[in-house]
Structure formats: structure tokens, C-alpha cells
């Protein structure tokens, strides 16, 4: 495998979580090793046990989980070997290793940092603890560390709070914190999952550079095969607490031996091109008139300050956007966080009132209504025909309502069905999205993420809409579920002649799903066109930068370090 000696060996590790219904074996006989100075990626979908494995190394598995068997051998620089699995999780021995010789960074840089302690305090904490530095020395060290992770103006940054930073900067703070004591091993648990692609590319670059400078060993946990292909030296594929396959990245991508690995890779490559369902479609000879015409739409938030609440500036969330959506068509809106794509979706549904421009909605009878100004019954009628599917299937379903109540609610509140008829229609809707109608009396917590998103779709379909705005509808799902969810949406589109406004930050999902794409940057649409054209031959510099930052599942052609960078022209 590699010629260097392993720095960490996991042998037949078992971690279980006792629950009321029995013992869950989250990690079930896992063995692998980390080669010194190299990057090992642990890849798997949610529930595969990859995160628990990583936490077991530092013995910080959440209660009630605990290590029930196996060894974790840590070979130190001085030649001694420790078995981390045998240590007391609250003991001195393991605490001295944590943050000193083995450090960890986490997925969500906002919630993984304390909101009420200054950055310098949190970054310098480990050196005060392990190296016994004074408060002042720790502060100096924190400034150096912030500089080494390329945070601008570290002397000021050290006295700020984490919420004053963007997501990418917070993750840099997190990395600085982990590097504080020059660890031999850095464990990164999905550190870029919550970030935009361009930010992800920067963080991956940064980790790579720091690893080379310091000769660190990196264990990188991810669900993204593209990231694996970009950075891994060795790969460990996990599923349901077991290792399915491990080996050097090139041979694993070129000739996967395990069926599950092949499935993972297959799902990723499937999303590399347009969906078969879409390719089979026949273009109508005369394009129908657009169902939505968005003209010069803007949504401006004022910034007020001082005693008199004077307006001192404004945030242009949506800035003069002009777009069209045709019946039966999917328009993709792609952009990074803060690009205004979600604000645009909210304006279409009139969840927020746009401050300028018009949204012409063409009703079934051919008349048009301006949604930006509509009020009362006209707005309510239009809203019945334009529905929304949200990103987080866990947060967007009321946990105290049964599935039947959730899906039936739009019908009930609009007075369209009740009693036996309501039940029948709910059953039909659930069946259509692939949920067993017999489960309608269950509560959302009984369903998995993918099933919940299906329930959300059923709820959106209840009022026979003509337009569905889907805001990152597949972002919270595993890759294997993502493709199936998109196929379901495409089937429904064919069947019901739905128009989709599909908001996403994920280029591969856009390419698979959308007919046309609009690329948004800072509230403006910088480029529109056919999906394949925009995704393969972008013309705008921003689109080029965005596309080149997407990691591709090909270890032979690593390229994000060669990506285009887009610096917005001064406005």
C-alpha cells in the first residue's frame, strides 16, 4: 500500500450505542491504518459509522456510545506505542493527547465554535493547556496561528467573535485551533460539507499546504467522492459500521472491487451528465408562452443605524433579475451562499415582498397577474398553484402532526377536501411519491431523510400546482438518494406538466435536472443559458470560477488547485 510506517492503526474496532430497543453497533469490526504524512479519506453515506470511528480515536464518542472492542494503536514520534482504545475516556492520558498530538476539526464551523468566547481565547486554549503558556503567550501564538491559516488582519481577528466571520473564515479558525500544538495527526470530520464549492476548494488547498509544511498525517472524513479524488492518498470505504473496501485512491477509482464502492462511484458519475428522463423528452415544435416572467425584480434590505434609525446603506439581495420559466420546464438557479438565490425563490412565492420589478404569472386561462403586487384572493389563488419544497426535510415537517395531517393540510385549509375524500387524496399523493399509504398515520420521525423529502413533495403536490420552487431540495440527502429524488421530480414533471424553479449550489445536480440555468452572484444574474451549455462551456468569468472549483471524481485529473479565481470588479 504505502512504504511509510503507519502512525495510527485501528484494529477490529467495535463501538456500540445501547438503546432501549437494543444495542446499535455503529462501528462493527473496523480495521485500517493511517500512513504517516499522507491523507487517508474515510468515505461513506450517513449512518456508515465514519464519524463515530473518527471520534473513537480521541474517545469523544457521544454518550451512550462506547468502545466495546478492538485496538487503536498510536505510534508516536519517539517510537513508543499507545493503545488509545484501552484508555479511560475521562482520564488524564487521553486528555493529554487530545488537541496536542491528535487534533480534530468538525463539520459545522458555526456550532462547533463557542459563540460567546473570542476567537483568540478558543484558539489559544490548547497551547495554554498542553504547553503551559501564559495568557499573553497564548495570545501571541493564536495570532501566529490565525496568520498561518491566512486569516486577514490576525491582530484584530483574535479579539473578534466567531459569528463575525463568514463560514470559510470560521473553518479557518477551527483549523488554526486544531494546529495549535502541532499535532502529528489531524482528523477532519466533513470539514467542507457546509461550505460553498469555492470556499471548499480554498479550505482543501489550505489543509494540503499545511500538511506539507508540517508533515502532518490527515484523516479526512467525507461523503463526497469528488473530494476524495482530489485529495486522498488512501481511501477507506465504509457502510453500516463496516469497511467495504480500502486501498490507494487510483486503483480504487479505476477498479473498485466492492459492489458498494461501485454504487457510490456510479451515482456520482450518473450526476455528471443530464438525466436519461430528460434526454428522452420531445421538444414541442412551438415553445409555449412562459408561465412566469420575472422582470427587473429587486429585493433590497435597508441597513439602519443610530438614534434616528437613519438608512446608512442597503443590501441588494436580488438586484434587477429578469428570467422566464416555461410550463413543463426546469429552470436552475445556481449560486453560492449570499448570492440571492433563496431570496429570489421567496419573492416568487411572495413570502417576502419584492421592492421593485414584476413577476408575471400566466394563469391556466391565459390571463396574467403580477405576483409582486397581487393582494388578497388573487394572491391566495396564485399561491395555491405555486408551491415550495424546502431544503431540510427534518425541519420542514411538523413533528407533532401525522403524515396524513401534513399532506392533507393544504387541502383542508383551502376547503378543497375533507373526510373520506381527503383520506383518499392523501393516499393517492403518498403513493405517487413512493410512500406506503398505510404509513400515513405515522409521525415524521419514523421516516428517513429521503422519505421525509418525499412527504414534502407530496405536500407540495396536494393542491395540483403548476409551478414548484425547490430550494436546495436534495442538498441534505446522500448521493444515492439524490439521484432517485431527482428522477422522481422529473417523472412528476412529465406527468403533471410542472414547471420547476430549482435552486441549488450543486452544479452536478443542476446539470442532471435542469433545462436552463441562471447563475447568480451578489443578487445579479451573471449568466443564463441551456444547462449543458452553461455547465460545459461557461462564458462568464464567475461561472468559470464556480465550475472549476467543483471537485471531480477523477484522481488522475486533480484540478481544483488549478482553478480559476473570480475577483468581482469593484462596484
Amino acid at each position: 500500500m504505502t512504504d511509510t510506517a503507519p502512525v495510527l492503526e485501528v484494529r477490529d474496532l467495535h463501538v456500540s450505542f445501547p438503546t432501549r430497543t437494543g444495542v446499535v453497533r455503529a462501528v462493527d469490526g473496523v480495521s485500517f491504518s493511517l500512513a504517516r504524512g499522507l491523507t487517508t479519506c474515510v468515505v461513506g453515506e450517513s449512518g456508515s459509522g465514519k464519524s463515530v470511528t473518527a471520534r473513537s480515536i480521541l474517545q469523544i464518542v457521544d454518550t451512550p456510545g462506547r468502545i466495546t472492542g478492538g485496538q487503536i494503536l498510536f505510534h508516536r514520534k519517539d517510537g513508543s506505542t499507545l493503545d488509545l482504545a484501552a484508555m479511560d475516556p475521562r482520564g488524564r492520558a487521553i486528555r493529554d493527547l487530545r488537541g496536542d498530538e491528535i487534533a480534530m476539526i468538525f463539520q459545522e464551523p458555526m456550532s462547533s465554535l463557542s459563540p460567546v468566547h473570542k476567537v483568540g481565547d478558543q484558539v489559544g486554549e490548547a497551547v495554554r493547556l498542553h504547553l503551559g503558556l501564559s495568557r499573553r503567550q497564548a495570545r501571541e501564538r493564536a495570532i501566529d496561528l490565525l496568520a498561518s491559516v491566512e486569516i486577514p488582519d490576525p491582530h484584530r481577528a483574535v479579539d473578534r467573535y466567531t459569528f463575525e466571520f463568514s463560514g470559510g473564515m470560521r473553518q479557518r479558525v477551527m483549523i488554526a485551533m486544531a494546529l495549535a500544538c502541532d499535532p502529528a495527526v489531524l482528523i477532519a470530520d466533513e470539514p467542507t460539507t457546509a461550505l460553498d464549492v469555492t470556499t471548499q476548494a480554498e479550505i482543501l488547498d489550505l489543509i494540503g499546504r499545511l500538511q506539507q509544511q508540517r508533515g502532518m498525517t490527515v484523516m479526512f472524513i467525507t461523503h463526497d467522492m469528488g473530494v476524495v479524488a482530489e485529495i486522498a492518498h488512501d481511501v477507506v470505504v465504509m457502510e453500516r459500521g463496516k469497511v467495504r473496501e480500502s486501498g490507494p485512491v487510483r486503483s480504487l477509482f479505476a477498479s473498485p472491487r466492492d459492489a458498494y464502492t461501485r454504487m457510490l462511484l456510479g451515482n456520482v458519475t450518473k450526476l455528471e451528465r443530464p438525466s436519461d428522463i430528460r434526454l428522452k423528452r420531445v421538444e414541442p415544435p412551438v415553445p409555449p408562452p412562459p408561465i412566469l416572467r420575472i422582470e427587473n425584480l429587486s429585493m433590497v434590505f435597508p441597513i439602519v443605524k443610530g438614534i434616528m434609525r437613519r438608512k446608512v446603506g442597503e443590501v441588494r439581495a436580488v438586484d434587477g433579475v429578469t428570467l422566464e420559466v416555461r410550463p413543463g420546464e426546469t429552470l436552475g438557479i445556481v449560486g453560492e451562499s449570499g448570492s440571492g438565490k433563496t431570496s429570489l425563490g421567496r419573492c416568487i412565492l411572495r413570502v417576502t415582498d419584492p421592492t421593485g420589478g414584476a413577476i408575471h404569472y400566466r394563469r391556466e386561462d391565459g390571463t396574467e397577474i403580477d405576483l409582486a403586487k397581487a393582494e388578497g384572493e388573487a394572491l391566495r389563488a396564485a399561491r395555491r398553484e405555486i408551491r415550495m419544497v424546502f431544503q431540510d426535510p427534518f425541519a420542514s415537517l411538523n413533528p407533532r402532526m401525522t403524515v396524513a395531517q401534513i399532506v392533507g393540510e393544504p387541502l383542508l385549509v383551502n376547503g378543497l377536501a375533507r373526510g373520506a375524500e381527503l383520506r383518499d387524496r392523501v393516499s393517492a399523493l403518498l403513493e405517487r411519491v413512493g410512500i406506503e399509504p398505510g404509513w400515513a398515520e405515522r409521525y415524521p420521525h419514523a421516516f428517513s431523510g429521503g422519505q421525509r423529502q418525499r412527504i414534502c413533495i407530496a405536500r407540495a403536490l396536494a393542491l395540483k400546482p403548476r409551478v414548484i420552487v425547490a430550494d436546495e431540495a436534495t442538498a441534505a440527502l446522500d448521493v444515492s438518494l439524490r439521484a432517485r429524488m431527482l428522477d422522481l421530480l422529473l417523472d412528476l414533471q412529465d406527468e403533471l406538466n410542472l414547471a420547476y424553479v430549482f435552486i441549488s449550489h450543486d452544479i452536478s445536480v443542476i446539470r442532471y435536472m435542469c433545462d436552463r440555468v441562471a447563475v447568480m452572484h451578489r443578487g445579479k444574474v451573471v449568466e443564463t443559458g441551456e444547462a449543458t451549455q452553461v455547465c460545459d462551456n461557461p462564458t462568464h468569468a464567475y461561472t468559470k470560477a464556480l465550475l472549476s472549483a467543483v471537485p471531480r471524481p477523477d484522481p488522475e485529473a486533480r484540478r481544483i488547485h488549478l482553478r480559476h479565481r473570480y475577483v468581482a470588479a469593484a462596484e
Binding site: D62, F106, S112, S114, P115, V116, M177, K305, G306, I307
Partner: protein
């Protein structure tokens, strides 16, 4: 922040005008007036007051004038001269009566608060960290018991035990010999010797509730990712507990300190009546019963002002302890 405080203070003015008007209106709402009550009290002890005397009393107190005139006299007196009017019942200026009791009330309330927090917070933290353990169940049981027992009942039992078994009178805040004596070190010591009984009684109720709130807040914070981060740094459990989750779990409680201010007047009334404590609550109750309108009005107005000030204080405190909160 300063701009925010200034804006809030400006907004307080119309609120106070509205509130004072309402307070004055409310104390006039019950049928009859102080003279009616006075006549009735005298009649109960077989003293007959004829209609003319009653009429004279009414004129003397200005009770015949229209509502708005009475209000105007009252409010201008307060604003211009700090004169809250005359208590009919006590035949003394209202301000003198109030300030005398406010000092003792403040002492009692603040010592109760300090004791409540000192006991409740550590127990709440312990209960959360050892959730569903014997310790947790034990304190949960005690806490619910404390919640369920009315303060006045506890006061009665304590007084009974003290008198019957120890031959000691624990009512009031002073022994008889210090009741009217001027302030001295001995009187202060005597006050402390009496003070602990009502403080314990009042703290039992408050503690029970606060333990549950602190436990719930802690349980929310304990499983936050930043706790795992701190653990991954190698901090010991007790250090990371105090530095991170406890610090965040206390935040919502700090904002409730401001709400305690109106409690200064209305709090602990029943216990105070049972134990004959010379604090504000029983006086307010008596003023309302006898329709001593200027005294009651002054209390109501003070309570409303304290509520408004307390809410502002809460908001400022919260902004100080939680850097995420900005009021600009």
C-alpha cells in the same frame, strides 16, 4: 448601544403616562370610595357617621371632583414636588410610608435571589450532567416537592415548630425591643437573625423552579458541537463544563434578573402577611382593601415604573453577557 438605550428611555415616557392614567383609573373602579369604606368600618364598631360628616370628608379629600381633575392634581404633585398625596388611612404622606418599607423589601428580595441562585444553579448543572441518575431523580423529586408546597404553608409550619419546640418567635423582621429603635449595629444583627427564616421559605419555591429551568437549559447546551470541540482540545470535563455549556445556559437566566424588580413590591405578599413582615406587599394589599387610593396608586405606579426599568435592564444585561446580541 447608547443610541438604543436612549431610544428606549424616550419610549418610556408615553408608556408611563398611559400606565399612570390606567393605574389611577383602576383604583377608582371599585364601587364607592375611601369614605364609604371608612363609614362602613366605623359602622361595624357601632359608631354612626351622619351624611353631612361624610360629605365633609369627601370634600376635604377632593373626592367630589371629576376624575380628570383628580388625576391631574395627583400626577402634577408627583412630577413637580415628589408628593404622592396623603394616605387616608394612615393620615401620613404616602412617600414616607413607601420608602420606609422599600429598603427592607429590597434587602429581603435580594438575599432571597442570591440564595436561590447559589443553590439552584449547581444543582441544575449536576442534574443535567447526570441526567436520569439517582442524583438527578433525587433532586427532581425535591424540586417538585418545593414547587408544590405553598410558601405560606411552609411559613406556618416553620413558625409553629419554632414556637412550640424552640420557644422562639420567628415572625417579623425585628425583635420587639428593636421595633422602633433607631438603626444600630445590634439592630442590624437582630435583623439578620430574623431575616433568614423568610429568606429560606421564599427561596424554597424559587429554587425548585430555577433548578428545572437550569437543568433544561443545560441539557440543550450539553450536546452542542462546541462541547465536543472543547473536549477534543483535551480540556478536563469540569473545566469545559464551566467554561462552555454553563456559560451559555446561564444567559437566558441573566435576562430574568430585570423582571425581579416589580417583585420588590408585589412579591412574597402572602408569606409576608403570615409572618407579619414589614415589607411593601401587605401594605399594598391593605391599601387596596380600604380603597386608600393615593397609597395604592403610588404602589401601582411604582410597580409599573419598575417593570419598565426592569425590562430595559434585562435587555442591557443580556447584551453585555451575550456578544451576539446587538441592538442597533
Amino acid at each position: 448601544m447608547l443610541a438604543y438605550i436612549f431610544r428606549r428611555l424616550v419610549w418610556m415616557v408615553p408608556s408611563l403616562v398611559a400606565v399612570s392614567f390606567l393605574a389611577f383609573f383602576l383604583i377608582q373602579l371599585p364601587p364607592g370610595d375611601y369614605v364609604t369604606t371608612y363609614v362602613a368600618t366605623l359602622a361595624a364598631s357601632n359608631e354612626i357617621v351622619d351624611q353631612r360628616t361624610a360629605q365633609e370628608l369627601r370634600e376635604r379629600f377632593g373626592l367630589e371632583q371629576p376624575f380628570i381633575v383628580q388625576y391631574w392634581k395627583w400626577i402634577t404633585g408627583i412630577l413637580l414636588r415628589g408628593d404622592f398625596g396623603l394616605s387616608f388611612e394612615w393620615q401620613q404622606p404616602v412617600s414616607g410610608l413607601i420608602w420606609e418599607r422599600m429598603g427592607l423589601t429590597l434587602l429581603l428580595t435580594s438575599s432571597t435571589l442570591a440564595m436561590t441562585w447559589a443553590i439552584a444553579l449547581p444543582i441544575g448543572v449536576l442534574s443535567a450532567v447526570r441526567q436520569y441518575s439517582v442524583v438527578d431523580y433525587f433532586f427532581t423529586f425535591i424540586a417538585f416537592l418545593g414547587l408544590a408546597i405553598p410558601g405560606f404553608l411552609l411559613a406556618l409550619v416553620l413558625m409553629y415548630v419554632a414556637v412550640v419546640h424552640f420557644g422562639q418567635d420567628v415572625g417579623g423582621l425585628f425583635s420587639e425591643e428593636y421595633q422602633t429603635a433607631p438603626w444600630s449595629f445590634d439592630k442590624f444583627v437582630d435583623l439578620l437573625a430574623h431575616l433568614w427564616v423568610p429568606v429560606v421559605i421564599l427561596a424554597v419555591n424559587g429554587t425548585a423552579g430555577l433548578v428545572r429551568v437550569m437543568r433544561a437549559n443545560m441539557l440543550d447546551e450539553l450536546h452542542r458541537p462546541y462541547v465536543t470541540t472543547a473536549r477534543a482540545k483535551g480540556l478536563s470535563e469540569i473545566r469545559l463544563l464551566i467554561k462552555y455549556p454553563v456559560r451559555l445556559a446561564i444567559n437566558p437566566l441573566i435576562s430574568t434578573i430585570g423582571w425581579m424588580l416589580p417583585q420588590l413590591i408585589s412579591g412574597a405578599t402572602i408569606v409576608a402577611v403570615v409572618m407579619s413582615l414589614p415589607i411593601a406587599g401587605p401594605l399594598l394589599l391593605q391599601a387596596l382593601l380600604s380603597q386608600d387610593m393615593y397609597l395604592a396608586g403610588a404602589f401601582l405606579l411604582l410597580m409599573c415604573t419598575l417593570t419598565l426599568v426592569g425590562m430595559l435592564l434585562s435587555d442591557i444585561l443580556l447584551a453585555l453577557v451575550d456578544p451576539r446580541i446587538r441592538y442597533d
